[in-house]
């Protein structure tokens, strides 16, 4: 056995008890926590803020939680299993920076263990529907390079055609 008698493996590490991820859907980020059985998150302790320099986020919209009454902490709203925060955002640099969101949350195990507040920066991925809609509507700086490449190719091809015509003319 290990050096000291312990029950520590009765509990999950915080990143296993509370898994967080995000998805971009249109102009919102959906931040989702999957909560292990027997664990819960406090609604009041969830915070979502912008991490990217070009991003402004509105207050997170959270669903109603389950009321938990604790003789010492009073009435608290908690989430079990899963919770999703909808966070509207605005960007003002046409997408020059990846979207980064800072999330803070705090929770406990029903069996009697509480984790200190956890803060993470997440990189939300584009949702399938959102990617299909958002990609054409957002002008991207590299679109200019694509157009420039096409234009340059058009000019070069014109030159080739013109050069051929000059060479042809004496023989005409």
């Amino acid at each position: 056995m290990r050096g000291v008698a312990s029950n520590e493996t009765d509990f999950l590490p915080p990143d296993v008890a509370f898994r967080v991820g995000g998805t971009i859907v249109g102009n919102t980020v959906e931040v989702r926590w999957v909560i292990a059985d027997g664990y819960y998150l406090y609604r009041q302790k969830i915070e979502v803020t912008a991490e990217s320099p070009d991003l402004i986020v509105a207050a997170a919209q959270l669903p109603a939680g389950v009321i938990k009454t604790d003789p010492y902490l009073g009435t608290q709203e908690i989430y079990t299993q899963q919770v999703e925060a909808v966070v509207p955002f605005t960007r003002f640099d046409a997408g020059a920076h990846p979207i980064q969101i800072k999330v803070t949350y705090q929770g406990c195990a029903e069996a009697g263990l509480c984790y200190p507040p956890i803060t993470k920066v997440i990189f939300p991925g584009a949702g399938a529907a959102a990617a299909a809609q958002a990609a054409p509507s957002v002008p991207h700086p590299w679109e200019g390079i694509a157009i420039l490449g096409g234009g340059l190719a058009f000019l070069l091809s014109g030159l080739v055609l013109r050069k051929g015509r000059k060479l042809d003319s004496p023989a005409a």
Partner: protein, 233 residues
């Protein structure tokens, strides 16, 4: 290149190459803006390694590496006076780490009060270590009339927790040491009467030389596992 047909094909190829190069640049560059894993609604994305803290576990749960002996440390008491753990040399210690925001920590305090008074004449001392702001702890201790000694600290208390093997601590957790400073048990989570009685009776046997340390640890480990089994069954 004298044939008009060949010239036309050459021009068309250059044009296509230019368009391909431009669009390739666009898509390669743009791919960086879609990092992360797209997931359908109603599911969480798989954990991204960039989202994880450095000590985030993968498949294995990291274990606390608890030292054999209580480390030397000093923290402030509620009046701000530095207090060394050596103050209780020769006593068995129940060192309970807690925080004011932690509901299970508050729930177990009446039990700790009871244990402190029940075991005082048998050389066992309960010491609370609050990892919190001193003002909050002082207010809390006054409101709930906590009689056993309390130490308080922020980063310095976290450093003590780390010395005890709890690098990213969750609360409460309690360390039990015998009178010679040997750490016998680490109990993570809210302490209940059966677990406390089990551990303290073994510590008492150890102090009275009725059993040796390895046997004491094994007895506690087996007892805790049995109690956990009963609780889940």
């Amino acid at each position: 290149m004298n044939s008009p047909g060949l010239r036309f094909v050459g021009a068309a190829l250059i044009m296509l190459l230019g368009i391909w190069a431009g669009s390739r640049l666009y898509w390669v560059r743009n791919a960086q803006y879609h990092r992360g894993v797209p997931v359908p609604a109603g599911q969480a994305s798989v954990p991204d390694p960039r989202d994880a803290s450095p000590d985030a576990p993968g498949s294995a749960v990291p274990h606390a590496v608890v030292p054999d002996l209580l480390p030397a440390f000093a923290l402030s008491d509620l009046s701000g006076k530095p207090t060394s753990v050596s103050t209780w040399n020769g006593k068995s210690l129940v060192i309970n780490f807690w925080a004011t925001w932690c509901a299970p920590c508050r729930r177990e305090m009446p039990l700790l009060e009871t244990l402190a008074s029940e075991w005082a004449d048998r050389g066992i001392v309960v010491v609370g270590v609050a990892v919190d702001y001193p003002d909050k702890v002082k207010e809390f201790a006054g409101r709930f009339n906590i009689d056993y000694p309390l130490l308080v600290g922020e980063q310095d208390a976290l450093d003590v927790a780390a010395k005890l093997g709890m690098n990213s601590p969750a609360f409460p957790f309690t360390v039990f040491a015998d009178r010679s400073g040997e750490i016998v048990a680490l109990f993570v989570g809210e302490l209940h009467r059966p677990q406390a009685d089990l551990i303290l009776s073994v510590v008492q046997n150890l102090n009275q030389n009725r059993i040796q340390l390895p046997e004491a640890k094994q007895t506690i480990a087996r007892g805790l596992a049995k109690l956990a089994e009963q609780a889940s069954g």
